[in-house]
Symmetry: D2
Subunit: 337 residues, 4 copies
């Protein structure tokens, strides 16, 4: 591989939590050369002044996006506030550069221009699309767990699926808001937007598109804010159409046993944030309660990795024909302890 | 009140998290005199050696329970490992001392000797019973939220009630276990015993006894461990028999508007741990999702207060005819900030 | 006491961390009636909308300070950004209302108008002064530990006193700044302004005024930010003029044995944040290292209590002749567990 | 490199915090093959049952050390309780296997058999010694900062050096002790063994051996326990023999500018745990206070990486002639965000 020229990359929004996580991954990626870092408030500064551990790596200074020559790069990553990509989408497409957008701007698009970047479920689309809408963190955790069962007809859709999800604080981005202060959040926990979170329709749409749920399908999604930096655990309550736990487990195993980044747990160990933190792994577990006839899915990811930057790199690898775990595999064992 | 002699109190198990919380409350209670502290491993030590802020209060040394003369005290509080009270129950009853047990030993008893100490739902029973089974923390949060709606027939019991509950670490007690170490739990989150927690039958039993649910009633209860010291949030998903949110809210308000320790939120504010921490308050909120026809109850308590020691003191006040908030009211405003 | 009319109180800045802690204390104080809450950004709102646990207490809405009739109140508490009290000081004094200022504005004043509110060291001044400059949190922890030894000549001033202090996050106030976000601070720790913190001259000034240090006296003060909500631990390294630990301990005990809120530890227990959290206590310990001839003072307080609101109430009690622990004593045992 | 056979490695004590961190590093190391994992309490179990993210990597089951054939491996890593290596040292040496010991057992040895593994200060010794005593975490942070200045004569040894150090909880190991429970440590902070920590003589010994301090040299070392998982910040107060900050900075830069893992900060950024977490980097900063004539060194490391497992791998690379950052460099940019 190393004889070919590296892919030329620009990142817009590298100073946020998922942006800098992405930058870290791309710096360690053997097929990537970082050509530009773009931002808004920090134009002219160096990213090292915000993240000193990036010193000495020869990173470019932060420039305005308007100064970026899109024809000089192979791939543009955007980890921007919602709205930015929508505003610049046509000029990006016109330039011919390929795009992986970590914001929510393109996630409801359809047609040939945008592929939804849920890696394990849309590889063909991702390979060829000009632009990738990288999934939201809650949708990634939810869809990976539900889609195999839904596709296999193992979910009784006459009962409402209930996703009770919990996310670490970096999921809310790096905004200067009092509600996100350490003094407010430490030792606290609460549900927010419990009836109307914007990720609900995203989950519903792709349960329909990829899993065959009816188009007017509706589920309950309740997010909560955890006093941890990173990680999502989704506890998904549903009524299965079988009372055979082995069938539910077998469905998940059949779908994911060949996947490098989805780990179906069938023994005593349960998904937990510490098992996936700083990795691109999802951990999924399913249980069945014969007393009530209900089932429970537990799904854990690192919101900044499989829920954002890690999956973006996985999609980048798919787009350009690199091994899917290139630059990501080591993470499965790092950061232990 | 102050002319009458104070109630003579003994506490067994004062060095655990709920035991010392109880001790703190009783020390501040104007009608209580603490006569004895009993323990097992720390006999002969002073409680001050474990909790230095208790220095200088003239507290008795920790003695063995076997040395306690039950005829000298008016009320015995037990914050002991499960099994202790079961073993000593007949001798305690015979002595004539009244008992408030914070363990799980008596929670499934019926008959005239034991009253279940869910204060707002069993005052008559609590006033007269020789022994009180103080409710578990998860059952307290769950029952307070569900009982009014169940009693009013507003819960569709043909669908399974799903309690997705999250508890701070002190709910697991002060055991020297690797799984409870700071190094293991900080920045982590997970579900545990997701299909078979021992609190499930307790919740079911009292939804039946107090709320009129069928005896063979079964629900789903999934607990999770939060990386915070104290607090429980229960997110309760159920199908209401009405689509009128006002009816659901009105039912909760009607039940609790005269209660000092249950706060029904009907505006924008949602229950959160920080709102109830170090207080005996429960906060309850109900929402309705017209898209799915499902409802959501959020219920927050401090697991050591309304979920253990606070409710024990509330029950003590009921038993002995003191104002129900005596020694507890100040907590509603303390520990702010 | 209860036959006299209560003291009429106004608080400016009640929505910050120390402001709302003060509000909680004053609500529980038997000799206080809260007449007005003033703010800037939240005029017209209710404090309950920010702190729901304050619901139902009949608190006044937040009004502008300019609308406050100072002649109607007995005592004004200001928990405002630095600069506010300086701007309004002459009009406050002219009105005849007494003032307890929790900001830094008056801490360097001298003369008859302002007394420095380090309760245990300036009771006579506090009783009679029109205005109290409530000490900073770091100075409170540092001065309480050092002053007795300095006054007794037990500190070798030819060597530099080194205060290595660590504070919880609420010490920085409730500002919407990225550097104070949970996502930035959790699992982190660092020194800030290590050579030039504004509290340094405050500590030096009162070591001189109260402890007899030379006027040109200089010490080293290095603050660090702890990932906890509340609490300060100051580790104070100094060279004693004696090698007899008993003399050092005896000096602290002699000064503080009759004090209700300063606890000198001489056994195995060491000061820690959990021992003083939510209380008005300071814990002080001194050790001597014969290998080096150096001594170490450890001093722990809750930065919002003895370091701000608690000491403000203590000073209020001193000013108006109430028992010094009125409204504060219960805190020594609450919030245990 | 890849044509040579990989180094055959055994780890004793892989389930503790530093042991599993070491295992993660060695799994990602291109020149390592893990042949055996030894433990005591978990013999016969798989390491995956404790750390599920290690599933699927084909790791050997945990065996007893007594069953390990030392002649089959090239290098033995021991992350064991103190005492284990002392007991087995002669048999290990006799077998001819090389040893890197992360415990404290060999740190005070001298002679030809053991080299102290402070990588940047003892490369020649490390290359040839049969056994490496990997330094303690506090000594690593302290020595890296102090040694260059001491060696250059820039520390006034007539005044006592004061190391005020703070460590995350994993520094205490993974012991089932009540004092290390989340419920006890969250929101807490305190000094422990403030006058007699066992790391004090280790620091003194190597300031003497490597830095030229007198043999009877004594300093003050006070450790504190931080409520974070990993990271050490040492704040080192000393009297410099120069008042020229540039000289102090220049000394550090001269020593470390060619080092890959020691980062001397000379601008506005200060060392903080988040800058070094999950990396093998040390960050060092020096400041001078002209008011007092005192200087301050700040030194940050990850206690499990540069303070334990990372430095062990760095020493392994030195021992066997691999590039010193092999398997470690990527960490400088990972785990950002």
């Amino acid at each position: 591989m190393s004889e070919n020229p590296k892919m030329k990359v620009a990142i817009v929004g590298a100073s946020g939590y998922s942006g800098v996580c992405l930058l870290g991954l791309l710096l360690a990626h053997p097929e990537v050369e970082i050509l530009a870092l773009c931002g808004s408030s920090q134009v002219g500064e160096s990213i090292e002044s915000i993240y000193p551990r990036l010193r000495g790596l020869g990173l470019p200074q932060i420039t305005a996006f308007s100064e970026l020559d899109l024809t000089k790069i192979d791939i543009l990553f955007t980890a921007t506030p919602n709205g930015f990509v929508r505003e610049h989408f046509s000029s990006i497409l016109t330039s011919g550069v390929r795009l992986i957008d970590l914001s929510a701007d393109l996630r409801f698009d359809s047609g040939s221009e945008v592929a939804y970047g849920l890696s394990e479920w849309n590889r063909v689309g991702i390979e060829s699309a000009p632009a990738i809408a990288n999934p939201g963190c809650y949708p990634t955790a939810s869809l990976l767990a539900l889609l195999p069962l839904l596709e296999a007809g193992l979910v009784d859709l006459s009962r409402t699926i209930i996703i009770d999800a919990k996310s670490g604080v970096t999921g809310a981005g790096r905004q200067a808001e009092k509600s996100l202060l350490f003094g407010d959040l430490a030792e606290d926990f609460y549900a927010y937007k419990p009836l109307s979170h914007r990720h609900t329709p995203e989950i519903e749409l792709y349960l329909s598109r990829f899993g065959g749920a009816p188009e007017d399908f509706a589920l309950r999604f309740t997010p909560h804010l955890l006093p941890v930096k990173r990680g999502i655990l989704a506890s998904i309550h549903f009524r299965p159409s079988t009372s055979d736990l082995g069938v539910l487990q077998g469905c998940l195993l059949a779908k994911y046993s060949a996947e490098q980044f989805v780990d179906v747990l069938v023994g005593e160990a349960l998904p937990r944030l510490s098992n996936v933190r700083h990795t691109n792994f999802a951990q999924i577990w399913v249980g069945y309660d014969p007393r009530t006839g209900e089932a429970l899915l537990l799904s854990a990811i690192d919101n900044l990795m499989k829920g954002a930057a890690g999956q973006a790199v996985q999609n980048f690898n798919i787009m350009f024909g690199f091994p899917e775990a290139l630059g990501l595999a080591g993470h499965s064992v790092l950061a232990l302890g």
